[in-house]
């Protein structure tokens, strides 16, 4: 047997957790600085921004107009019931809104942060009772269902609340990513460092945005997430979202199936590591796995600059979704990087030993979690830079 060719397999960088901690404390970016990385991150985030815009609109549409609808058959049509729209839906010429729902359910299931705490509070239960009482008087099906399954409708309302909150979160992120792409094109963002700073600034600016959600039933308005709950963008939605989708994820419907009975998944939900930062970009059998759905959606909206580069790499169009996923992971490390920077307890340049220790603990906690992630995407691939430099030169 001949020795395995080095060309066939690439050894990933896999930086150690200590290296990640050092980068965080030194104010360096997690993702290595390179022109290639910049374009991958910016362009993939631009297509992600377009997709998030559609996800966000649909989630808000679902939460507002399909509220307490136990059979929401047309929930993906955004209210457009024209034959052409239905036909495009049937032949799958559409955005995979299932992925957005999957993220919503991951958030609902992992249930961290202020939103989840509010969904379990007494005031939420009181408003549920009020809403259900008002709704069941007009809806015989729900009037029949509610006494039989008393937890069903409150759970639907929790789902709708999470759906709306995620829709609001993505509204902000979509605009942020599209602005980032515009800034890069204007020349105001020219490096990975500036990308992280741009995203951090966007997150900080939106941090205190209130998250509210109201519905109208038979001309009477109700609050599901009232302003008095005091839910805010960053701590109550963004952080739980990162926790649920980037980090923990779900051990099913992914690239690899795990068998809980064989104890292949951790007992503690908090130890889960199946999120986007840990996802294997290679689809392993099976159709419709959620990361593939997102890659397919982004593929439909790829900027031509990035698409042209993908065509020049690997198998061209043949493995384009894998390449999108790899770029997407780089981009998500930038977003995570911005979130970590934004949540450092003290300024990095601080001289006080206690503050430095607090910062180190914060960085160490993150580094320990990220150390197991797909950090092999963080380093520059030498052979990938050359064609991209040419592609950039060709465009200049």
């Amino acid at each position: 047997m001949p020795v395995i060719s080095e060309l066939l397999t690439r050894s990933g960088g896999l930086p150690e957790a200590s290296e990640l901690q050092r980068r965080l404390l030194a104010g360096e970016t997690l993702l290595a600085e390179s022109a290639n990385h910049l374009v991958q991150v910016v362009d993939v985030l631009e297509s992600y921004g377009v997709v998030l815009d559609a996800y966000s609109r649909n989630l808000i549409y679902q939460a507002e107009t399909q509220f307490l609808n136990p059979l929401p058959i047309f929930k993906y049509l955004d209210g457009d019931h024209s034959p052409a729209k239905i036909w495009r839906h049937l032949i799958h010429d559409r955005i995979n809104f299932e992925y957005a729902e999957y993220c919503m359910r991951a958030m609902l299931w992992h249930g961290t942060g202020g939103l989840d705490a509010y969904l379990d509070s007494a005031s939420f239960q009181a408003s549920c009772r009020e809403i259900i009482g008002h709704k069941t008087r007009r809806d015989p099906l729900l009037a029949l269902l509610h006494p039989l399954f008393s937890e069903f409708l409150p759970e639907l309302i929790r789902t709708a609340a999470t759906t709306h909150a995620l829709g609001q979160f993505w509204r902000v992120m979509s605009d942020l990513f599209l602005d980032l792409a515009a800034a890069e094109r204007r020349g105001t963002v020219t490096s990975i460092e500036e990308v992280v700073v741009f995203i951090q600034a966007g997150l900080v600016a939106a941090a205190a945005n209130p998250i509210t959600y109201g519905v109208t039933i038979a001309d009477r308005p109700f609050w599901v997430l009232p302003p008095e709950a005091g839910l805010t963008f960053l701590m109550d939605v963004a952080v739980p979202y990162v926790e649920a989708v980037f980090l923990r994820g779900t051990p099913f419907l992914g690239t690899v199936s795990f068998n809980a009975q064989a104890r292949q998944i951790p007992d503690d939900q908090g130890d889960f590591a199946y999120g986007a930062l840990y996802a294997d970009p290679l689809p392993t059998m099976g159709a419709g796995i959620p990361p593939s759905l997102l890659m397919q959606d982004m593929y439909r909206h790829l900027p031509e600059r990035l698409h042209a580069w993908y065509r020049s790499q690997g198998r061209g169009e043949g493995d384009v979704r894998v390449k999108i996923c790899m770029s997407f992971q780089k981009a998500m490390f930038c977003v995570t990087n911005a979130a970590i920077r934004g949540t450092f307890p003290h300024a990095l340049a601080t001289g006080a030993p206690a503050e430095r220790a607090a910062n180190e603990a914060h960085a160490a906690a993150w580094a320990a979690r990220l150390g197991k992630a797909r950090t092999d995407c963080l380093d520059v691939m030498e052979d990938a830079t050359e064609p991209f430099a040419e592609a950039l030169a060709g465009q200049a």
Binding site: M1, I4, R10, D280, L282, R315, V322
Partner: protein
């Protein structure tokens, strides 16, 4: 008419050798392609001229060559040889199609492939024992060269082993034929069955034993099989296709034609032992395949197993079992050629055939998904999945043999079931799971995440796709082949059973 089946590839062989100047390898390949395409077309013409309802030899041609030696140039075709002639043309064509980028001595390479094709056709069509032997030996040297010049790293050892084994095979067969002539007291080398009046049963048994060992090496049967895995491992993909698809069939053809055909009395006596031998061969081949780590060796051992069942069918010598033997020869030719082609593609793309190294090649984006799909189809056919050629042949073999040799047939069925075991092991390891090309003891295997395999171009899978279609086609419409061979195999079985009845009567 039949002579053209020999002349076409022979003329091609000479044309390539005598081509003036230094022609490009692509041109050589095209010449071989044209010649073999003509051969396939002419085989089809013979097929159309053939009357399947008649049992005996047809389209015979005869020309005295060296009458003093009893050597006549006499050709004929029947339902036993015609399918093999067809498959020889088709697989030779496939072998040339899948030969790409040959840099080393392309002229000789393609010439030798044509020579083998001519010799194999000659052996299948010969109606004279010496003529058969001439062609049987004629394919030996080209194949030895194909392995020893265009083979892998250990080609010298494998080619020499192949040469020694098959030379012994040829010597034994020649000795048997000569002894037959001497004992019969005539230099008539035609295919006339020997009966007890011409030759005592003891002498018949000795001669038959020589033939059995001679052809047993070629088939190969355990314990004469050890040359085959080595030869396959070192041979290039097209040569493996020829070797498994066509050349092994010379052994089983010889067994049926000369073992059963020349010595029906002795055959009837030895049949129970042959059935046991078949069961041992099938079980050994299958069990050995399970422990292989090299995909090609695994397919080679599976050949040993599947060819063993032809011996079982020949031993039973019922109309159904002999038809099953014919089916098994054709379907094994198609399926093993398909599997070797696919293993060749995997090897070309990954540089390895090691089951401990390859994982998840079915990956739709970065693996070899279509190759993997065809591989799954191929192993399903080999394991005898209904709807494909393997099922028909194994069903006929077992159905035809179970009444005569129930124990041996049951053991062979176990061996056939083991096919599913080793091929599922292969498919599970190599094609399912997360794509990876790393040895399990590689300390960096968890960080070697990005695998870069070249995609398989559609044209590279055309021959394999054609074979896969043939495998499914034969499985869905087995009547095509059955119609062609049934009269011949029934006549052969009738002859055998008549003699068995006579023997039984004589003893009783």
């Amino acid at each position: 008419m039949l002579s053209l089946l020999l002349l076409l590839p022979l003329v091609g062989f000479l044309l390539l050798l005598l081509w003036p100047g230094k022609p490009a390898p692509g041109l050589m390949r095209q010449v071989a392609l044209v010649v073999l395409s003509l051969q396939v077309v002419w085989s089809v013409v013979v097929l159309l001229a053939f009357d399947p309802s008649r049992g005996g030899m047809q389209l015979s041609e005869s020309l005295p060559w060296i009458p003093g030696l009893g050597l006549t140039y006499s050709l004929g075709v029947d339902g036993l040889s015609l399918p093999l002639v067809l498959i020889n043309g088709a697989l030779s064509l496939v072998a040339v199609i899948c030969t790409r980028d040959i840099s080393q001595r392309p002229r000789i390479y393609f010439a030798l492939v044509l020579l083998i094709s001519a010799a194999v056709n000659g052996a299948f069509l010969a109606q004279n024992l010496l003529l058969f032997l001439l062609f049987y030996e004629l394919e030996l040297i080209p194949l030895w060269l194909l392995i020893s010049v265009w083979g892998g790293a250990g080609k010298a050892f494998a080619a020499t082993k192949f040469l020694i084994f098959t030379a012994v095979s040829g010597i034994l067969i020649l000795a048997a034929f000569l002894a037959l002539a001497v004992l019969r007291g005539s230099v008539d080398f035609s295919f006339l069955p020997v009966d007890g009046e011409q030759l005592a049963l003891g002498s018949q048994l000795v001669l038959l034993a020589m033939l059995l060992v001679g052809f047993g090496i070629k088939i190969p049967l355990v314990p004469f099989h050890s040359w085959l895995p080595d030869a396959h491992t070192q041979a290039s993909t097209p040569v493996s296709v020829l070797l498994a698809g066509v050349l092994l069939k010379l052994g089983t053809y010889g067994l049926l034609r000369f073992g059963l055909g020349l010595f029906p009395e002795a055959w009837a006596v030895m049949a129970p032992w042959l059935a046991i031998w078949a069961a041992i061969s099938v079980l050994y081949g299958s069990l050995a395949a399970i422990v292989q780590r090299d995909m090609k060796r695994m397919v080679a051992y599976s050949s040993v197993g599947h060819m063993g069942s032809i011996l079982l069918a020949a031993a039973a010598a019922t109309p159904v079992s002999l038809l099953g033997a014919e089916f098994q020869m054709v379907s094994h030719g198609l399926i093993s050629a398909l599997l070797f082609l696919l293993v060749g593609i995997v090897y070309r793309k990954t540089g390895t055939r090691d089951l401990d190294v390859l994982r998840g090649l079915l990956n739709p984006e970065k693996g070899l998904p279509f190759t993997g799909t065809l591989m799954i189809l191929g192993v399903m056919a080999s394991a005898g999945m209904p709807g494909m050629a393997g099922f028909i042949s194994e069903f006929l073999v077992f159905r035809g043999s179970v009444a005569t040799f129930p124990a041996a047939t049951l053991l062979c069925m176990v061996g056939s079931g083991l096919t599913a075991v080793y091929f599922l092991l292969l498919v599970n390891r190599v094609f399912f799971g997360r794509l990876a090309i790393t040895p399990v003891n590689d300390p960096l295997r968890h960080s070697r995440l990005d695998v870069r395999l070249e995609p398989v171009a559609p044209r590279e899978t055309i021959p394999a796709t054609g074979l896969a279609l043939a495998v499914v086609g034969l499985g869905l419409v087995p009547a095509l082949l059955g119609h062609l061979s049934e009269s011949t195999t029934t006549a052969m079985a009738r002859g055998a059973s008549l003699l068995q009845a006579l023997l039984a009567g004589g003893v009783g």
